[in-house]
Symmetry: C2
DNA sequence: GTCTTTATGGCAGTATCCTGTCGTATGGAC
DNA sequence: GTCCATACGACAGGATACTGCCATAAAGAC
């Protein structure tokens, strides 16, 4: 029959909103990071690295992106002196991306603006519903990652 | 103080998941549309146009994207014969993007795969929670769009 | 009618992310 | 030790999105 189930339909509505919301969040992040010459993409890399030195590949996995995307951003951040590459005692080629004092100051500035912004936006919504939404999104992502593995190399879900 | 409120913190968690989920949804959409040579971006344009002829600018607004992004995709779809540009009786320059039979067939095929996929993924989750999440995402997007307008041309939310 | 504002598309350039391919480093099997 | 699978970075190229700027069409003010 190929008809929509209630759950499938609700999921479809979430998909549309995720696409739209993703765009607006990037816009907002760009605005928050702009006064110190940063963007959403650079900010996100800084945020991961602020949790401790990590290789480019590790940062990429944490963000759910491809290595090359993060590599390019990290190189730009290094060129601006916000991060630096340090030798990795466990891997000769995979250098560690580390925050510099300048990078930490930049992230601190952005973080202060982010708190005020997130509190302002989040404040207009119901706490329990926000938490439910966060949990649902995480579960959906896990379902997608699992589904991708299942129908991976030898997919058989054709029409 | 600049401390996180509970709502702001929950919103922050949603942001991270929206970024990750957005990537996984594009991946999944590419997989669904790939057998007929399409991508998530082209599929989304086809979906809007299937609701009736529309100008490029109208499609862009419906998708929450910039005009140029949609223009490029629409040109590619037209080159492949999935849509065509028709004269707009109400506007000489703004031609209408219309589905072709080929485009409709392609969208139908993708739609059948989408239904099965969305039902499969959505089926593993609670209906009420899915609906709550969809509603929260929509409300958050509206808050962001409103906030953007408020602090628009003459923003004054600096540090 | 004329003027101004707004909307639209065209063109050019940029940012972000992806894939594919390669050479090299690491770590475990043997 | 040697071999092989895996992981990582480098390089090249492409897809998707954005912005800025311009010319023209449409719509409303007058």
């Amino acid at each position: 029959m190929d008809k929509w189930t209630a759950e499938g339909d609700a999921f479809g509505k979430i998909i549309l909103e995720v696409f739209r919301l993703n765009g607006r969040l990037i816009d907002a992040g760009d605005g928050i990071a702009a006064p110190v010459g940063q963007t959403s993409a650079r900010w996100q890399v800084l945020g991961v690295v602020s949790g401790g030195p990590a290789s480019v590949a590790q940062v990429a996995r944490a963000m759910g992106l491809a290595r090359q995307s993060v590599q390019r951003t990290a190189d730009l951040l290094a060129a601006d002196g916000l991060v630096r590459y340090a030798d990795n005692p466990h891997h000769r080629r995979a250098k560690l991306v580390m925050m510099t004092p300048k990078g930490q100051q930049t992230l601190d500035y952005i973080g202060r603006r982010q708190v005020r912004w997130a509190n302002r936006i989040g404040g207009g919504h119901d706490l329990e519903q926000l938490r439910t939404a966060a949990a649902v999104l995480r579960q959906l992502r896990e379902s997608l990652e699992q589904d991708e593995q299942d129908s991976g190399p030898s997919a058989s879900s054709d029409v």
